[in-house]
Amino acid sequence: MKSSVIVFPGSNCDRDIAVALEKMQFKNQMVWHKETKLPKSDLIVIPGGFSYGDYLRSGAIAGKSLIINEVIKAANEGCLILGICNGFQILTETGLLQGVLLRNKKLKFINKDVNIKVINNQTKFSNKYKKDQILKINIAHNEGNYFTNSEHLQKLKNENLIAFKYCNTTGSTDEDSNPNGSLENIAGIFNSKKNILGMMPHPERMIDNLVSNTDGVNLFSSLLN
């Protein structure tokens, strides 16, 4: 499977995702944001980090870059798109995903391992997970507080577009296990066609037992499936 990772000035999880993709046997290519053409790819990843320093609004300026037009085109043609953390923020700024990521409830950057629950496992991104499976995945962000209007929230529920929710060790999605104030504990969502996934947790950080765990592996193997 061919993948492309878009690199913006200020992206800083680009190497991490590339390492993960290569480890999972993707044929990966890095694409600098000034390029005007995307290499042929089955998967496009917009990595985490602080594109343009997260100045103005996180993801806003990257959302205006040249290459984004190509990403939008590819998305409309059905290419798989994965936005992690800052990538998720960029996807909402471009409109490929709806809603916004506001400042964390407590206005502090949060880095920790959190539990998330697989809500929809019937997608290209999640078919190797079990439904309601609880994963432990690292988060690291300042603006991960997902918000959307009630109409869209209803749509997310009706069409099963919520990918992951923050939960506790037993799977309950209560307020205590919501690290950043996200609406209904939402940690990741799909678009209607389910070819785009945006998520705040970092699956690429969870592929190696020496530094963490391997709960992120199945996201990549789902894609290969």
Binding site: G53, F109, N111, V211, S212
Partner: protein
Amino acid sequence: MKTITKKVIEQHGLKLEEYSTIKKLLKREPNLLELGIFSAMWNEHCSYKSSRKHLKNLPTKGKQVIQGPGENAGVIDIGDEDAIIFKIESHNHPSYIEPYQGAATGVGGILRDVFTMGARPIALLNSIHFGSPDHFKTRSLLNGVVSGIGGYGNCIGIPTVAGETKFNSTYNENILVNAMAIGHAKKNKIFYSKAKGLNKSVVYVGSKTGRDGIHGASMASAEFDDDSEEKKPTVQVGDPFTEKLLMEACLELMKDNSIISIQDMGAAGLTSSSVEMASKGELGIELNLDKVPCREENMTPYEMMLSESQERMLIILEDGKEQHAKKIFNKWDLDFVIIGKTTDTNKLTLKYNNKIEGEIPLDALASKAPIYDRKWVKKKLTKSKIDLKKLKKIKIEDALIKILSSANHSNKNWITSQYDQMVMCDTAQKSGADAAIIRIHKKEKAIAVSVDSSSNYCKSHPLTGGKQIVCENWRNLISVGAKPIAITNCLNFGNPEDPKIMGEFVECLAGIKESCEFLNYPVVSGNVSFYNGTNKKNISPTPVIGGVGLISKLKRSMNHQLKKNDSVLLLIGKTFGHLEQSIFLEEIHSILEGQPPEINLINEKNNGESVLEIINKDLVNSVHDISSGGLIITLAEMSMGSNYGVRIDKPKKLTDLFKYFFGEDQGRYVLEIDRNNLKKVENILKNNNVFYENIGFTQKDYFEIQKELKIDIKELYKINNQWYNNY
């Protein structure tokens, strides 16, 4: 033009005698620009005029040392083609004035020191000291500093993996913010600042120059007084985004052979970088200040030369590489301007509007800068009159809880969760352990890193204190299974013109030297920060040690968290019950008296090496060194956050339980050993003549000292976390 009066000289932080020397060296009066340059180069921060004489005594060589002090950072050899480059630096005064930006730019500055030398930074550490928790400024300073450190490190994408956080009223008016950066480079691809060759292009890259921090370096070398809050324009704003671009651009240019030498613009900006490069190369340097990219209009040569705008570098390029280099910097949207060339004049020549605005022989700025042999006096040691029997009665359990819920001994989660500790995906052990472990990317080996200090020990007995911090740092690396290799140090002291303070400095340094020599633990880089204090009130001496060790094959990370039920707990090292200067007396009885525990370097080394041997043979489940708070705090830390607690027998010999459990005797560790490994471990310890005791075993859920106390470890964990959560 402004005439140089006595007042002007003083404003530049120069003494009148120093001004006479300047005139002698120049054989004329300097103009204002030249005076500014002298003041920047001759102040404590750049010239090390009070400390140099004593720093020379430190051991700086070793089999694994590639570059000792004198460059932007120290370099050590960790085998194969790999080198580790690291340094620590203070940003105390700026952080007190504007905590967020001060701390952030401190991180930015130390990162540049490391990537200037060709290393990709792989970890950040910090040592932060605040006034007492109930001082009215402490809360906002703590908040600002922590978010500043996080703000910069998180944005640039380098994990902040370890540090130390302390509260003590000695820092009420002068906090300490020391930042350490560690990078990885190829041994044969290290870049130095020494210029070579005539007529080579001198290139300015990075951000534009603004009026920030003009006189910042002089500020860092002056005591605070009441109007220091007025020194506002000197505050610099950090731009981690630009630094990220600068780092990537430099590392990209470093892939081939375009660079002759490179130097970041740190304190005293363009002045110190150009002077250092040229004087190290025994060349001259000529700068055309018209070419300097400026952020503001009408900036004067004086302002350009003394600006401390962040995120800038100076590079000397090989002939014909200009276009190639320019392309790279343009790709990263950074300024790239040739602003001068190397010459054979041995002078710094500054041109503006086709006129020479200033010209100074380089040796006057560097090798002939003043060096002082400041008067110093030995510390008068005070005898302690503590009579333990007369102290207020307290239960062990209550003392334990009080210490665990104190600011200094609380869990630092509140801080460390604000730092991205995992980015780069090589953090094998995060904050919370004795040392952090960072794997070398795509390799089996890893480094362990830790920063340590103990101002109470250093205050009461500078020599022992100096010895002790090096040992504690060494112990922390051992505890995670690393072989300690070398250290960097940040020496935070008061006013060196006071012989007592100078004495603290000299004696601490002698202690550091003694330990480093004995443990074969050389000093490869460092930083001195004097004048920490306000209105003649100096801080306690606070040397901070940052150590790096090597784990040649990382199979799993070793830490202090108890792993299994019913394993045996061994206490390594002799317990005498030394309570003077202990946390117990300070926190529980508000007594700070007497001397710190003695350091026995022979036992220290022997115990440590034996523990390392046991770890390397995979015979141990967890290890924790014993430091402030003594045995009981060590055991509590091993239990909290794990699923297992301990069941400890009462001591067989030492009868005073407080001495036994809270004494801070040095060179000790607690090891958790599987019963079936016990024989093997005991054999190693016996063979090596290491004193040890079997003190109990692990159990589920409870922290227990027989017939004394029994507490649920979840409860302990809660207690240990409440201070920050309620602050």
